[in-house]
Symmetry: C2
Amino acid sequence: MEFTLELKNRINYIEKKMKAFLPEEVGYQKTIFEAMNYSLNAGGKRLRPILIMEGYRACGGLGEDFLPYSVAVEMIHTYSLIHDDLPALDNDDLRRGKPTNHRVFGEDMAILAGDALLNHAFETMLAYAKDSDRPDLHIRAMYEIARGAGIYGMIGGQVVDVQSEGQAIKKDKLDFIHINKTAKMIIASVRCGAILAKASDEKLQALTRYAENIGLAFQIVDDILDIEGDEKTLGKKVGSDIDNMKSTYPSLLGMKESKQIATDLIVKAKKSIGIFDSSDVEFLISLSEFILNRSN
Amino acid sequence: MEFTLELKNRINYIEKKMKAFLPEEVGYQKTIFEAMNYSLNAGGKRLRPILIMEGYRACGGLGEDFLPYSVAVEMIHTYSLIHDDLPALDNDDLRRGKPTNHRVFGEDMAILAGDALLNHAFETMLAYAKDSDRPDLHIRAMYEIARGAGIYGMIGGQVVDVQSEGQAIKKDKLDFIHINKTAKMIIASVRCGAILAKASDEKLQALTRYAENIGLAFQIVDDILDIEGDEKTLGKKVGSDIDNMKSTYPSLLGMKESKQIATDLIVKAKKSIGIFDSSDVEFLISLSEFILNRSN
């Protein structure tokens, strides 16, 4: 399997399907639709939507029941980026090589566009779940997303990250940030897909372990890329962790050790899903290697 | 029935029950819990939670199945106030006579506290719905809340409100703002309660009409109070609409006409729920009169 091509196909598929879920840019509140769509259509790896799809398919899910969830999770990821970029938080002008939402639509609209995307994520899932004959599964799947994105997940991690800027923190706090800010949504994504596919407990647990490992590895690699990455390939400034005096894996444990930990996590991730038929998790295996070796 | 006492009892009941749903203020992300609880506990009329309860009870609902929804809708209302008050939006220092969230916790935490409350509203409803034997009803109820709070509801209205500041707008646009920004969440609240109580279509429709009328009346009275209200009783500055050159019912139609329209809406609201046994909607009838005659 040519992984880069397989990934590209999936990104194209998600982006094409996503269009049907985006608000039409008409009506008095047109600006908010434009602001939402601007950031949703700004590219990215679509990692979380793809993880929902792969979790679903690995567990035997047929059809496209996962799609509203893939779109929803991307809306949540996008809202978190819009709010992170605001002047009161990271104050970033560029995101994926394009002006950030507030630079285009103003700070007021960027705040509201973030709110709108978060709310619309739930509206999108619920609108779909309403017509399902397995509402129980949909509630469990939505709960995973809500929990992963919330105060005991992504927002919780983001809060501690913001508060830790400019000061040295210890490894357990750094792990708290990485696990909550990044890994929890990655875990929620695969679990959501697996639940929708009526996965067995054994498969659900296996995928959970996989996601925990790639989730933490993803964030450690992020730390590494902020030092060794190429600004152009990344589409964002490098060195910002050092500029902001942020504790990271490399700053706490050194570069060599950090790379070893990331490598070990990916080995563990692959082992976790050994119970599946290898053809069902071929992409997930390659994806874990890509997360380790990625340059953006 | 002494309405003021009945209202106070309900406010106390909601506030007491709400405590069990609030995050405990421990852990690395403690600040966000404090920021959420600060604004949630800052008082207010608890109108939306009470409307869920009354919609539920009017349709024969027993027990407290509505409670997580009452708490969730108050979380959503509270998040919208926190974000409205931000410097990039209304830039308010006081809310209900207390310093606004960002004045106490900083702009970054206030943005995140708003996000956290919105997300936690859904997390709270889903956590409860997960264990229900009627997941279909819960999905319908949650969908009402999501829709009412979203881009075709509260956020949609807020966007147009923000964009209309400082310019004269026509009545259809003003109605769009009032209906979406305020009425839609009021409608969603009673409908949510009615759905959870397995209301008949006829009762659901009747309560919907009731809420549409009190919802618009509520906002017209808000416009009136911003001119004629007492700053101390209101707990916020008056005259802000004129200062911000905002079009309002009084500015477009005059004070006398605005009061007449509000009065007529309340008459219609009461008529809408004529199909109920009067004892089941006694509080809703009094509430509609209170909304018309309120001083805060």
